[in-house]
Amino acid sequence: MTKRIIPMTLLFVALAVTALAARYVWVASEGTELKNEPKGASAVVVDLKLDERLSVLDRAGRWYKVKTDAGKSGWVYRGRISSQKPAREKAKGAPGLFGSLDSDIAANRASTDRAMRGLSPEAEAYAKATKTPEEYQKALDSVMALKVTREEVIEFLRKGKIGEFAQ
C-alpha cells in the first residue's frame, strides 16, 4: 500500500510543478522591471519588453516569481502583467510612452527639438484656417513640450507608496 502511495504522491507533485511551470503571463505595462526580490526597492535583474512572455514559477502576495524565455528569473509586480497575451494594435509612427526620453540628455535634446518644431503642421494649418489665436497655440506647444522620464514616474510612485512601492 505504502509502495503505491509514494509513487502516486510523486506523480501529483510532478504534475502540480509542471502545471505551475507551464503557466504563462505576459508583460502588459511599459517600463516593467524584473526584480531580484518581491519588493519595489529591490535591484533590477533586467528590463522587460512590452508583451514579453514569462513562465510563472511562484507567487507571493502581489508579486509573481517568473522566468523569461532567455532564462532570467526574478519577481514582477502583479499590476505589470496580464494572464492573457495582450491583443494590441501597434501605434505606427508613435515615439513610445517615454520615447527616447529615458535620459536627461535625450530629454533636453528632445525638448529643444519640440520647442523648435511646434505643433504638427496639420494642426498649425488648422489653427491658421480657423484663425485660432496664437496664445492658444503657444499654450498647447508648452503642454506638449513638458516631458517626464520613466525614472521620475517611478520616483513619484515610490514617494507615494503606490503599487509595488506600497508597504
Partner: protein, 297 residues
C-alpha cells in the same frame, strides 16, 4: 431568386470571404463584390457599399494623423474652457501621475500629455493621440489622489479605445483622411479635417460620447487605476462627489451634460468592483493632493 435571397446569398459569401481576408482588404472586398454581383443602384449594391463604409470606418488612422486631430481639438478646448494652469508643480504632478497610469493602460505605447485648464465647470475630456484636459473645477472638487488617478485613467481609456475618433468615423467624416498631410490641408481635405474637429468638439464638449463608450472607459479606467496601485473604489467616490454637487451646477459643457446618469454609472461600477476583492488595501489618499489643489487658481 427573390431579392431577399440574393442579398442573403451575397452576404453569406462575403462573410465567409471577409473572415479570411486581412482587415484592410475587407472594405475593398465588399465594394468589389458589390460591383461584380449587383446592379447599379440596386438595394443589394447599396447594402454592400454600406458594409464597405463600415469596414473603412473601423480602420485606424495613423498615429500622426490621430495626434494632428487631437492637437486641433485641444486648441478648441482651450478656447471653450480656458487656458492651462501655469503653476509648474501642478503641471508636473498631473503628468507624473498620468504617465504612471498610462504605463499600465491598455495603450501604453504612445506619449500622453495632461493639462489642467482654468474653468469652474467640472469636466475632463481626452483628445485623440493622448492629450488629456481636466478643468480646475473638477480637480478642486476631488478629495484624494486616488480619485484624481481614476479620473485620469478614465480619460486614458478613451484615448486608448480611440472613442472620439471612432465617433467621427461612424459619421464618415474621416473617409480618405487616413494619412493626413500638411499639404493636403488646403482645399477639400482641409475642410473635411476642420469639420471632423468641429464634430469631435460638439461630441466631447456638448452631446457626449455614447453611453457604452463611457461605461467602457469607467471599466477600463478602474482596471488601470487598480493595476497601478490606486483603489478602484475611488472612481465611485468621484461620481458620488459629483452627484452631491449636481444640484445647482452647470450642466452644459460639464460631465453632468456629457456623461451617462451618475446613478447608472455608480451601479455598474459597484458591480465591477467585485473583480477587485482587495481594493481596500490599495492606495487612495497619499496626503499630496491638497498641496497641489491650493496652487490652482
Amino acid at each position: 431568386m427573390t431579392m431577399q435571397k440574393t442579398v442573403l446569398a451575397v452576404l453569406a459569401a462575403v462573410l465567409m470571404l471577409s473572415m479570411s481576408a486581412p482587415a484592410k482588404a475587407q472594405s475593398g472586398l465588399f465594394d468589389a463584390i458589390g460591383k461584380e454581383h449587383t446592379k447599379e443602384g440596386s438595394p443589394e449594391r447599396k447594402l454592400l457599399q454600406g458594409l464597405g463604409t463600415i469596414m473603412r470606418s473601423t480602420q485606424g488612422l495613423d498615429y500622426k494623423s490621430e495626434l494632428a486631430l487631437g492637437e486641433s481639438l485641444a486648441l478648441k478646448g482651450f478656447e471653450r474652457y480656458g487656458m492651462p494652469v501655469e503653476d509648474k508643480h501642478v503641471r508636473r504632478f498631473v503628468n507624473l501621475m498620468g504617465n504612471a497610469l498610462a504605463m499600465n493602460s491598455n495603450r501604453p505605447d504612445i506619449p500622453y500629455h495632461f493639462v489642467v485648464v482654468k474653468s469652474p465647470l467640472k469636466n475632463a475630456f481626452s483628445c485623440p493621440g493622448g492629450i488629456i484636459i481636466l478643468s480646475s473645477g473638477l480637480v478642486k472638487s476631488l478629495m484624494t489622489e486616488g480619485q484624481l488617478a481614476n479620473v485620469l485613467a478614465h480619460e486614458i481609456a478613451h484615448v486608448a479605445q480611440k472613442h472620439a475618433v471612432k465617433t467621427i468615423q461612424q459619421g464618415q467624416l474621416l473617409q480618405g483622411l487616413s494619412q493626413m498631410t500638411a499639404a493636403g490641408m488646403q482645399g477639400e481635405e482641409g475642410r473635411k479635417f476642420q469639420k471632423a474637429v468641429s464634430n469631435m468638439a460638439t461630441t466631447l464638449f456638448d452631446t457626449g460620447l455614447s453611453h457604452s463608450m463611457e461605461f467602457e472607459a469607467d471599466r477600463l479606467g478602474m482596471q488601470t487605476a487598480y493595476r497601478t496601485g490606486y483603489s478602484p473604489h475611488a472612481m465611485i467616490e468621484v461620481l458620488r462627489i459629483l452627484e452631491e454637487r449636481q444640484k445647482g451646477s452647470t450642466v452644459k459643457g460639464s460631465w453632468y451634460g456629457t456623461h451617462p446618469p451618475l446613478d447608472q454609472r455608480i451601479a455598474k461600477l459597484n458591480g465591477e468592483l467585485k473583480a477587485y476583492p482587495d481594493w481596500k488595501e490599495l492606495r487612495n489618499s497619499t496626503g499630496r493632493l491638497n498641496w497641489y489643489k491650493e496652487r490652482i487658481p
